[in-house]
Structures are given as C-alpha cells and as structure tokens.
C-alpha cells in the first residue's frame, strides 16, 4: 500500500509542490506496519471458574434476581408460617397422618413461579438485549457460558429454597409441637427441605433451558407456567370414563402433585403414581433432556 495521503486529491495535474503546507499532520503508516500490537497486560487463558465468577456478577447485579428470590423467600416463609398460625389457632389438632411439614407445601408451590421466572430471565434477558453477542465475543466457548449459567443459577436457587424451607420446617414443627401427636423422622425432614429444594432448583433449570431454546422471556415463562399448571387443569375437566387413565396420569405427574409427594407421609401416599424420591428423578431427567436441547441449540444456532 502506498503512504497515506489526504483522502481528497485533485485529479488535475499540477506541478507537485513538495513541502506544501496542506500535508496532514497525522501520517499513519499503512498496511506496511512492520509490527503487530502486543498487549502489556499478561495473557491468561480463561476457564470455567472465570465464567462462574462472571455469571455471579451478572446474576447479582440485576434487580430481577433480587425481586424473584426475595418473593420466593417471602412466599415460602410467609405462607408456611401463616398456615401454621391458622392450624394452631384452630379447634382441632392436626390428624395423625399429616405432619406439620406438609404446611410448607403451599408456599413452595407458589414460589415455583418465581424460580421459573428467574431461570428463564437468566438466559433470555441476554438474548432479548443482544448482550449474548457481547458475552460470546468475550467467551467463544458457548458451552462454558451456558454451563456457568446453569451452575450459578442452580446453586443460587437451591440455596435460597433450602434456607426458606428449612426455616419453615423448623418453625412449623416447633409451633405445632403440642398439636400433633406424631413424630417427624429425619428422612421426612430431609425430604421436605433438601428434596423440595432440589426439585425446585431442577425445575428452574428446565426453565433456563426453555429460555435458551426459545430466546424470548415472555414466551419461555408462559411455556413454563403452562407446563406446571396445564396438566392439572386439563385433568380436572376430563370427565369421561374412557379418559380416566389419561386423567390419572396427568394428575399424578403434574408438577404440583410431584411436589406434594415430598411432603406426604407414608399413610397418605397414593396407591399408584410416583412415590418417595421418584419425583426428583423425573424432574432431573426432564432437566437433562431440555438442557441437552439448550446446549445443542446454543452451539449450533446463530447467536
């Protein structure tokens, strides 16, 4: 390339005037630059730990996280304690079958909506704003970006739910100690706290995966609400006998019923349908499948 000249050049031949004052002061050597810029900042290869730190910065720096998780805590604690308060002021004692732990169910059921919202927003807000392109420019390893999101969101929602459910389980059983004859086993405690929290966190992961697949906040949240609520609603309206099997399956495998399984003591368990820890394995499998789709989508589609 030739030495740069002013972008304007008269096409009329005149005697060249050396040293003409019109020469621009900035003379950038063109492509002939013999050197290539080397940054003085030490180069360090980024890894998953960096991506996790980045995701943590991202998730804690937006208000939607505070709101959704704040409402999650308020719902679980508030409704759980409210239910215990109602029971303790009631005339009758709790039956022998339903332990005080079951009162935590209603709050967790509502808080699922918040966790789903946060899961979707964790990824779809990046697509909605176009930030995903900046993110993927800073880290071309798309699987690493998604993994960091999955890990940070999962741990955050699990820890928040675990703290809330543990507080509710402890205070409810303390409040109603004199109104219930039965004994709460450690396994029941574990299921109603850790089990429920894992279930909610994995459900949130499904929401995150759906957000990555649909790339649209409103669409993904609506889809997830449909997944959570529609089977139950549809089952309610299946009056025909010939649909009895479908109705039963829809009811037993609906998300609220799966969640309820964690709270039910042995005596109230349904004769069929998922029991024990089965609901967790179901939701883990569903999360695995949808996350697989999310990885495939993110790796192969244009951002």
């Amino acid at each position: 390339m030739t030495a740069p000249q002013p972008p304007q050049q008269p096409a009329y031949a005149q005697a060249p005037q050396p040293g003409q004052p019109g020469t621009p002061p900035q003379q950038w050597t063109g492509a002939a630059a013999p050197f290539v810029y080397v940054s003085p900042i030490p180069v360090r290869r980024a890894n998953l730990a960096d991506a996790l730190k980045s995701e943590w910065t991202k998730i804690r720096s937006v208000r939607s996280t505070l709101w959704t998780l704040g409402v999650t805590i308020v719902l679980i604690l508030g409704i759980g304690l409210l239910a215990a308060g109602v029971v303790s002021s009631a005339e009758n004692d709790l039956g022998a079958e339903s332990s005080p732990l079951t009162l935590g169910f209603f709050g967790v059921l509502l808080s699922i909506i918040c966790v789903i919202t946060l899961g979707v927003l964790t990824i779809s807000s990046e697509f909605g704003t176009g930030l995903i392109r900046t993110t993927l420019t800073a880290c071309p390893d798309r699987a690493r970006v998604l993994t960091a999101k999955v890990v940070v969101f999962f741990l955050l929602s699990f820890v928040i739910t675990l703290i809330s459910t543990t507080l509710v389980a402890m205070s409810d059983s303390a409040l109603l100690a004199d109104r219930w004859s039965g004994e709460i086993t450690g396994a029941e405690y574990f299921k109603a706290t850790v089990g429920v929290s894992l279930f909610v966190a994995f459900l949130g992961l499904i929401a995150l995966a759906v957000g990555a697949l649909l790339r649209h906040s409103a669409g993904a949240i609506t889809t997830m609400l449909g997944v959570v609520l529609l089977p139950l609603v549809a089952a309610m309206f299946m009056f025909t006998d010939s649909l009895e099997g479908v109705r039963k399956a829809l009811f037993e495998y609906s998300v609220p019923n799966l969640l309820a399984t964690f709270y039910e003591t042995g005596a109230t368990q349904a004769s069929s349908g998922p029991t024990g820890w089965e609901p967790l394995w179901i939701v883990v499998a569903a999360a695995g499948v949808t996350l697989g789709g999310a990885y495939a989508s993110l790796l192969n589609r244009d951002a």
Binding site: M1, P4, Q5, P6, P7, Q8, Q9, P10, A11, Y12, A13, Q14, P16, Q17, Q20, P21, G22, T23, P24, P25, Q26, W28, T29, G30, A31, A32, A33, F35, V36, Y37, S39, P40, I41, R44, R45, A46, N47, D50, K53, S54, T57, K58, S61, V62, R63, T129, G130, L131, R133, T134, T135, L136, T137, A138, C139, P140, D141, V145, D302, A303
Partner: protein
C-alpha cells in the same frame, strides 16, 4: 489481520452476504461501507463467529474466531450500543465481561476512564444516552486490549466532541499496529478516519482499495469553465478547442461548461490560444460521499421516493424536479466561520458540491476558495471521463453540510 474467503450467508431465500472475500490488515483503519441492509453487520457477526457462514470462512490471525486460543484478548468488538442489560451498572457490566475473559478487574476502571464514563460507572445503563451507550460498548471492546478491533457504527449518537474522540482513538489504535475494522455510513467520518475502504452492496464486494483510489476511481472530477456571458461565440470557440484537445465538454444550465479530460492549466492555455477570456476556471472534485453514492447507486435496497405533493405544487419554471435541493444554508467562501489555516487540510465537504450546491457562482468568482490549501497534487492525469451523471438530487449535497463545522474544526 482478518481474512474472509468466499463468505456467504443466506437466511432462507434472502442472501445477506454473497461470496465476500477481503483482507483487513493491521496498522490501518479499514472502513467498511455499504448501504443499509447490505450485509455489513452480518459480515461482522460472521467474523466474530456469532453467525455461521452458509459457505466460505473467515479467520482472524489465521484462526476462526471460535478456535482462537485467547479470543477476548485478541479481538474486541462493538456490535450494538444497546446490547447491554439495562438494569446492570456500567461498571458491573464491564466487570462481568472482564471476569469472563480472565482480565484483571482493575482493567475495568482503566477502560471506564478511557471512554470517559468513570463518573456514571455506578449508574444503571438503562438511563444512558445513545452516545454513552456507544462509549460503554467501546469500553467493552477495549477491555482485552486486543490486537484486532471491530466497530459497527461506533459514532452513532455521539456528539461532535465524541466523534472527534472516536476518530482519534481509531487512528491511535491503528498506529499502535492493531487491525481496526470500522463500519459506518457517515462518509465524512470515513474520509477522515479510514486509510482503506471495503465497500459492499447487496452483500457483494464493490470495492476494496485505499480511500484515495476509491475516490479517483469512482468520482467524476471536472473543471468548471465559464466564459463571459457577453461573448457567446467565445464559448463555442473554447468548446471546439477543448474537444480538439481531447476533452469532454458539457454545457451546464447556467451557461458554464463542465470539462473533463483536460487538466486545468491546459484549459487555461487553450483559452489563451483561442483568445477567449475566462470568468471562471475551477476544479471540482468528488467527495468520498459522491464517489460512494455513485458506486452504490445500483445497490441500495431502501430508496425513498420523492414526496410529490401532487396537485399542490405549481409548475416549476426552471425544469428542476421537485427533488432539486434547496440552497444550502452555508455559504462556503464568504462567511466561513472556520477559515482554513496555514497547514490545514481542507475540509472536503466545505467545498461546493457540484453542481447544484454551488450557490450561483457569480461572474468572476475565482477558483481560489475551492483550491486554497489543497493537498499536493500528484501528477496524475485526469481519470477516465466518467459519464456526466448528476448525483442523486438532494442526496449528495444535503448530507455532509451539517458536518461542516465539526470537520473543519479539527482538521488541524
């Protein structure tokens, strides 16, 4: 060094980019020009590995972007100023990107200072103006102190001071030996910033050459010659002499002659030999804008039609269509508030635009203002005479007029 080979991108039936091959070299600012929808942003996204090319490939320093060993430390990009989460503060936005790329956190404060956002670093970026958003995007691009930089429309929404800053920043980055690839549709900016141009239209490469080559290849430089109105026969005499000397002569509506193919001194000599007095002999050279318009005329996707206001407009006695530009509000030579100083490069856009924008050149109007402070003229013969097409009415003169002040202010 960015190298694209046969880059093609199709979205369904629509081909956004077709068989694009080019190189962007280090040490220079390379402008990336094209009309709206010509595939500039798609090409940038493919360079960054965000969109997969339908065919062909593009590499940075010999590797596809997604295979670069330390991509964020080698490539920085500003794609869209609005591509931030509005609820996150500027500092945390940059911090998350720095952490993702394994860049020390103190670098965040450095780049915030570089782009001048240190005072609003804690504010949520939702409240940022477009100009502040651009600065934040540039900060993100500079975060890794990379060797290759891509900027998509970096000056959109910036104030004049910001535009000057971006221009100097680009040049400085290129002078440090980096590869700087800037897309823009502000011709005046590219004329002042870029060393090299890549022009695309409808997804295809139209030009890949230095700025001055681009202008001389695509412009229709001509000389404006006016003979005394009192002696019409002189005009014919001169025309004959000029045609004999190998020039092309076209009469303009106001009686002046538009001459191509004959250098200015030769025109003067011929006039002298033919014993014809001249009232005007002035060089007119196309701006980058005009050259660009000429080149991309056929490749514009979105073209406005003239608002006819049919039935409301009386017949124009002068034969100009309704699209004929109004006289510009700035009179270049007389009241120029930013006179060219000694050593100043003339602002290409402060010169009269051929032909409509010349505000009724008075008889005897000298060529001095236009050629004052002209850069040294290399002995290049006039370019092959281009067809005497007028630039699209209104388009060429209107655009750069607003930028006049800014351009002459900092030409130094």
């Amino acid at each position: 060094m960015i190298e694209a080979v046969g880059l093609t991108k199709r979205y369904g039936a629509k081909t956004a980019v077709h068989n694009l091959s080019f190189q962007v070299r280090p040490g220079a600012v390379t402008g990336f020009l094209g009309p709206n929808g010509s595939g500039k942003s798609t090409t940038m996204r493919m360079i960054l590995g965000l969109d997969m090319p339908t065919s062909g490939h593009v590499t940075i320093g010999g590797h596809p972007f997604r295979n670069l060993p330390n991509a964020p430390r080698q490539v920085g990009a500003l794609l869209d100023a609005k591509a931030v989460h509005g609820g996150r503060s500027a500092r945390l936005h940059l911090l998350s990107l720095a952490q993702l790329a394994g860049i020390p956190a103190r670098r965040v404060d450095e780049v915030l200072g570089v782009v001048g956002l240190q005072d609003v670093a804690k504010r949520r970026s939702k409240g940022f103006s477009l100009g502040m958003g651009q600065r934040l995007g540039i900060a993100a691009a500079l975060l890794g102190d990379p060797q290759v930089l891509l900027f998509d429309e970096p000056v959109n929404g910036l104030d004049p001071e910001g535009i000057l800053w971006v221009r100097n920043l680009m040049k400085q980055l290129a002078a440090e030996g980096r590869t700087v690839f800037v897309s823009s549709h502000l011709m005046s900016e590219m004329a002042l910033t870029a060393d090299h141009l890549i022009v695309i239209g409808r997804g295809q490469l139209l030009a890949d050459m230095s700025v001055q080559d681009f202008i001389s290849t695509n412009s229709a430089d001509f000389a404006r010659v006016r003979t005394p109105d009192t002696a019409p026969e002189g005009r014919e005499k001169l025309t004959a002499a000029l045609v004999e000397a190998g020039g092309q002569v076209l009469a303009e509506p106001d009686g002046a002659l538009r001459v191509t193919g004959v250098p200015l001194p030769r025109i003067s000599d011929l006039a002298h030999d033919a014993d014809v007095r001249l009232w005007e002999l002035s060089p007119h050279q196309a701006s980058l804008e005009e050259a660009y318009m000429r080149m991309t005329q056929g490749a514009v996707d979105y073209r406005s039609t003239v608002d006819q206001r049919a039935g409301l407009q009386p017949a124009d006695p002068y034969g100009y269509g309704p699209g004929a530009p109004a006289p510009q509000g700035w009179a270049p030579p007389a009241g120029n508030p930013y006179p060219a100083l000694a050593g100043e490069r003339p602002n290409p856009y402060a010169q009269p635009m051929p032909p409509q924008a010349v505000p009724q050149a008075a008889p005897g109007y000298p060529s001095a203002p236009a050629s004052q402070g002209m850069p040294p003229a290399p002995a290049v013969p006039p370019v092959a005479p281009a067809p005497p097409s007028t630039p699209p009415p209104g388009a060429a003169p209107a655009g750069p007029a607003d930028l006049t002040k800014r351009d002459s202010e900092d030409a130094r």
